[in-house]
Symmetry: C2
Subunit: 306 residues, 2 copies
Amino acid sequence: MQIVLLGTAAGGGSPQWNCNCSVCASVRAHAAGTVFRTQSSVAISADGHNWFLLNASPDLRGQLERFAPLHPGKATKRDSRIEGVLLTNADLDHTLGLLLMREGGRIPVHATSKVRDALVHAISIGPVLEAFCGVKWIRPPRRLSPLRRRDGTESGLLYQVVGLRGKPPRFAPGAKTFSPGHSIGFRIQDQRTGGRLLFLPDVAGIEPPLIKSMSDCDVLLFDGTFWSEDEMRKSGVGQATAAAMGHWPMAGPNGSLKLLATLPVRHKVYVHLNNTNPVLLENSAEHRAVRRAGVTIGRDGMKLKI
Amino acid sequence: MQIVLLGTAAGGGSPQWNCNCSVCASVRAHAAGTVFRTQSSVAISADGHNWFLLNASPDLRGQLERFAPLHPGKATKRDSRIEGVLLTNADLDHTLGLLLMREGGRIPVHATSKVRDALVHAISIGPVLEAFCGVKWIRPPRRLSPLRRRDGTESGLLYQVVGLRGKPPRFAPGAKTFSPGHSIGFRIQDQRTGGRLLFLPDVAGIEPPLIKSMSDCDVLLFDGTFWSEDEMRKSGVGQATAAAMGHWPMAGPNGSLKLLATLPVRHKVYVHLNNTNPVLLENSAEHRAVRRAGVTIGRDGMKLKI
């Protein structure tokens, strides 16, 4: 399986258009040890020809242009190598990219019924797309099953939902209430190589059954939104805590880094990094702590093969 | 008045993610005489500090980062120099950028009641933004009036609606029926210098009262979507005609180029160029014809001062 990190920042990207926090200011000034990051999305493929997106970010247009294997094939005037989009939730930074695919064919969107409801009723992405390409909604399976191409043939990848505690997106009813189905992860396996990817960009906190299964992969792409619980306040840009925003911070005795450090997984990578996260500065103590723990901080364009 | 073309392509940008037409293929291959273009948006300012956007494109995030005067001021942690967004219609390539401004303060959006209706009811951009920053809807005036900053003070610019024949966006009810208010232009004047901008990125066809007033400006930014009426078909990417899509093509005895060539206007610039338009290739006969007529083909980053 080929895995390409198209974008590695959380909502707003890094830097964020209106943010002067110390991290955004450093990135915008091209300080040493910083890079620009677009919003979180991943492309995966078993054969290098047919690709699936894991979330569709608002930065999708540039992401597709920068990664040549996702350029349209040349057999027809209009073409796409994207065989489907798998959504972990209905957040804008994961779903607005669907609207940028409106000029193509009907989009196969793999989403839970709750995510679909949010995209059809709370924000009218579903109905709007019907005036263009349309959407083929697909309920992702609970058990490892073939991930199919547009034409129904097998892609060479198997996939299944990883259930998580999550909330509806901020623009939907009940946005502060955690319940199952609003936010999920995906487990994906290459049928030929056996390579296993665990994609968990939105993890609200420690979940014992999840932790148990987290070693069971070769690549772990994990929620790297916040370094600390009160990062927004400390950065001077807001009051919301990491917990209130549905993200498990990295730092501290109960942080995700301590757990990730112990996992016997070949590639452990933080993705969905918020623009306030000090790990984005390569000369920060926080960045060094992550690297010392054997965990990689995702960068746009990073490629993995399993 | 400072005028900056943030983006100069029509919906999809150039190249478009799924398009292999000869123009997109050349641009994607970085052929000589081609440049990448993001989707159409313009920034204007009387003082170089406080800016207004003319349409908010899906590429807004990158456009703001690439133009330093639109970076946030450094006095506060979160800031923006954007004092409002003026919309010519509710098309996705003109409005999705509003969602990318959700992390900031309430957005002053200057739009007709029909454009507002489309953004609130046909696509829920309005309601979704209410869960974040909110929108302050402002009805743009029929007579030249002060364009005000967020705090109510005058910006140094005057503005007024230019009425046009237009249609609702494709995703809204009655999308094929032309009637007033769905698509407008703007006339903008600098109070100090007297410099006059006429912004007309969506012109469905020849309108005699409009033509009469088109000479009455120093900068004319004009609909450059299509070269010819049947360009989509000739490019092999669709059947819709320019007229059906609400755009007046450049070519031919009744085309916009013939008219623009005659206008005694200092800067005549085509914007909102569709990715199929052969004028995007600088070595094309069409490109040369436009230049020979004294008209400029807009490029991202182009600056004008009047």
